[in-house]
Symmetry: C2
Subunit: 101 residues, 2 copies
């Protein structure tokens, strides 16, 4: 299985309402994408200093599952509707987590 991690630093004009609405839309999106075995998104708790404002953790079976998620119409729609204008910096990584999931 693959753990896809993404983290975001927001533009200066992003509001708490934007973040709440993004979380609502991402959560709704994830529920409709079968390739997503687990999905978590939310504000960085900043228990340690960090530039990241927000993070996403998604578990998929394999590279095809990641493509099915990232290239889905639903994911693109969230990006086009809200996420795209919020992002100042985005980084992502994928970690092989074996059969754990």
């Amino acid at each position: 299985m693959i753990l896809h991690l993404a983290w975001f630093t927001w533009q200066d004009d992003v509001t708490p309402d934007d973040v709440a609405e993004l979380t609502r839309q991402l959560t709704e999106m994830a529920a409709g994408i079968p390739a997503l075995r687990q999905y978590h998104c939310g504000e960085n708790l900043r228990l340690r200093p960090s530039e990241a404002d927000y993070a996403v953790a998604a578990i998929v079976d394999d590279a095809d599952g990641l493509t099915a998620y990232l290239d889905s119409d639903a994911h693109k729609a969230v990006y086009d509707r809200i996420l795209g204008r919020m992002v100042a910096i985005r980084q992502a990584a994928q970690l092989d987590i074996g059969a754990a999931g």
Copy 2:
């Protein structure tokens, strides 16, 4: 529960052997830290473009669990022995993943 995410971009002189040894030491460290409910570390699969060379995903119960992990002698020892000299850029974030774990 809290998902702690960390990602690293290496110094130019880091070798594949360094990365393999780091993974061995982190895995051994994690096995000895009760606060860690799940722990995954490894090279970024780079299924999508990314500056991150390596990532860690660790699940702990709460903020105290994160402190027990990050401030443990075992974690400091890995940092002092090998990780510290490898790191060019390090970022981390913590995500509330509810009771999922």
